[in-house]
């Protein structure tokens, strides 16, 4: 098992963010998480502009993407990522409350790597986050050019 990769968590709800990070604390991958609070921030991070202008180059190992986001929706973020030759190799996992078929279909059509519905029960939720983190940030071999460790 290699070094844990960086995770970009795109999540507008601070409570969800806290729960996700708390869940990850259990597995010691917390310092590898970057949080974007809306679609625009997520794209800013990926393109290293705005408040992310100073960060070192390199793509995250995985993007955990909520669908319902302020400014630019999750599906639009996904579309832009998949249209950009430099970004489209990043694995994107949709992590959402929506079980709607139309979201599932749009997500997979745009080439999402996985679609996870956030479980209501917390212990199930931490199981899901653990599995996601373990698989995408640790087990999965990311495409070349991804940052494996956040350097501060």
């Amino acid at each position: 098992m290699g070094m844990p990769g960086r995770i970009l968590l795109v999540e507008d709800d601070p409570k969800d963010e806290e729960l996700t990070i708390t869940a990850m604390e259990h597995f010691n991958i917390v310092n590898e998480i970057v949080v974007a609070r809306d679609g625009e921030e997520a794209l800013d991070y990926l393109y290293r502009r705005g408040k992310f202008a100073e960060i070192p180059s390199g793509n995250p190992a995985v993007i955990l993407l909520d669908l319902k986001l302020p400014k630019i929706s999750g599906l639009d973020v996904l579309r832009q990522i998949k249209e950009d030759a430099r970004l489209k190799m990043i694995p994107v996992v949709i992590l959402t409350s929506s079980r709607e078929e139309k979201d599932l279909v749009s997500g997979y059509k745009l080439g999402v790597s996985a679609y996870v519905v956030k479980p209501v029960e917390f212990h199930e939720f931490i199981d899901a986050v653990r599995d996601l983190g373990a698989f995408w940030a640790i087990l999965n071999e990311p495409p070349p050019g991804s940052i494996r460790k956040l350097k501060r």
């Binding site: 409570k15 969800d16 669908l67 409350s97 956030k118 479980p119 209501v120 917390f122």
Partner: protein
């Protein structure tokens, strides 16, 4: 219209009488002349022909007249005859006279009959076109009126004399004249044409009409036969229909809008309501882990919170599945009902484990519908039967089919479980309606609402019969 003209041509007027008298006088003069000069050959007999033809052709009972005339002549000859040969000659002459008169009579009778038939035919066709409710006419190839029916005069308000020799364009509204002109060319070339145009009456009234024409070649001449139908009512109906359609479109748009709202509502239920629920649950569980000093009471409160939140999550999920059931597209096919029921019972093995259940499953006919939906409906019904017979020492579940005359299949599921009071039967299939307390039997109350929605979407019916503590029977009908 001009049939009476022809009738006068064939009838015997005063001129004809004069002609008959003149011809007769001429013939008699010539005959006498020939007698005087002694031309007693066959030749003079021919000189009677004008008399014969004149009599037979122009006079009523001409043949009788001719016969009488010849007999009179015979009597005259016999009275004055000095020679038997003269009498013989006269007899031969009379016989020839009568024969020729007979032949001429027969020919002229045939001709008269043909003329009468022609007149009758003419009157009949006039009556026929007059009887038509539409405007009806014949034009020459330039569009000039030759014949027309009474309706034509009535509608256009023109007199008979005025219509004669006017062009069809005279009764067409200004804006449609060009169109009719092109249609006239079309009918001459193609053989038929039709169009809608406004008919213009003499007093300037414009009436919407549907015109059609066909070309007819009769006796080497080209005629255009046309008809025109008043479509005022149709136009008005069309306007009403257009109005109704516009109204309908508005309603459809409103409905589509409402549907969209419903969809965004269920989306928001799915996403926005679940999020806070997840937070309550997550932080409560975190609290449970961190608050180690919480006393038994506090722990119970937390457990209650968690249970309620979980229940609310289930309710939201059920509501969503119910809303989806009304929206998802159906894929219909033939379903082997017996196999379906068998599969469902196998699937519900967790419920049946360790229980004493007597299954009584009849042979079931195949049904036509959406497999996934109907499977859900029957799963709900069978799971209900299992649930409500749980307290029975020996559960008895019967699944069968009722022969129905109306083009539908009626299946039923009967159990000997808790049953229900028939006075609450109406609320049985409502969303989140429950007839038992949660302590008695668990569930959100969405199952039967889903069954009802699925069956209704198939065009079928659901109903139930039950008695408290003696079981219930649920019926599902599906159109064949």
């Amino acid at each position: 219209m001009s049939a009476d003209k022809k009738i006068t041509r064939f009838s015997s007027g005063p001129w004809h009488l004069v002609a008959v008298i003149a011809t007769t006088l001429f013939a008699i003069t010539v005959i006498n002349y020939s007698f005087d000069y002694g031309w007693f050959s066959v030749f003079p007999n021919l000189l009677y022909f004008p008399i014969i033809i004149a009599c037979v052709y122009y006079l009523k009972r001409g043949f009788v007249f001719s016969v009488l005339l010849s007999l009179f002549y015979l009597i005259l000859v016999i009275g004055e005859a000095k020679d038997v040969i003269l009498i013989y000659r006269a007899i031969i002459r009379v016989i020839i006279f009568i024969l020729v008169a007979g032949v001429v009579t027969i020919i002229s009778l045939h001709r008269k009959r043909a003329e009468e038939l022609l007149i009758q035919e003419r009157l009949f066709s006039d009556a026929l076109i007059d009887s038509l409710p539409s405007v009806c006419y014949a034009l020459d190839e330039n569009g000039v009126f030759l014949r027309w029916n009474k309706n034509m005069e009535r509608v256009s308000n023109y007199e008979r004399e005025e219509i004669t020799h006017i062009n069809i364009l005279a009764i067409i509204a200004e804006q449609d004249k060009e169109l009719i002109r092109s249609k006239m060319t079309e009918v001459v070339v193609e053989g038929s044409a039709s169009t809608e145009a406004n008919l213009l009456t003499r007093n300037g009234l414009s009436i919407p009409y549907h015109f059609n024409w066909i070309r007819a070649n009769i006796g080497g001449k080209t005629y255009l036969l046309g008809m025109g139908m008043d479509i005022t009512n149709r136009k008005q109906a069309e306007e009403i229909i257009n109005g109704l359609n516009a109204n309908l479109e508005r309603h459809v748009a409103a409905l589509t809008e409402a549907n969209k709202e419903l969809e965004s509502f269920s989306y928001s239920v799915s996403h926005d309501l679940r999020a806070p629920l997840r937070h309550i649950m997550g932080f409560s569980e975190l609290l449970q882990q961190t608050a180690v000093n919480l006393d038994e009471k506090g722990q119970r409160y937390l457990r209650n919170i968690l249970e309620s939140v979980k229940r609310m999550g289930n309710l939201i999920d059920d509501l969503l599945s119910f809303s989806r059931m009304g929206r998802t597209e159906m894929h219909k096919g033939t379903i082997i009902t017996g196999q379906l029921v068998e599969d469902i019972i196998k699937e519900l093995s967790d419920e049946t484990k360790g229980r004493n259940i007597i299954w009584n499953i009849e042979e079931l006919p195949p049904i036509y519908g959406d497999y996934a939906m109907l499977r859900l409906a029957f799963t709900n019904l069978i799971a209900n039967a299992l649930k409500f017979t749980r307290k029975r020492e020996q559960a008895r579940i019967e699944i069968g089919c009722i022969l129905s005359e109306d083009n539908e299949t009626v299946l039923f599921i009967r159990d000997n479980g808790a049953g229900f009071d028939m006075k609450y039967v109406d609320s049985l299939f409502g969303v989140f309606q429950r007839l038992h307390s949660r302590n008695e039997f668990e569930g959100t109350g969405i199952g039967l609402a889903n069954v009802r929605r699925i069956v209704l979407r198939h065009g079928g019916r659901v109903w139930a019969e039950g008695t408290v503590n003696s079981g219930a029977t649920f019926y599902v009908s599906v159109p064949n």
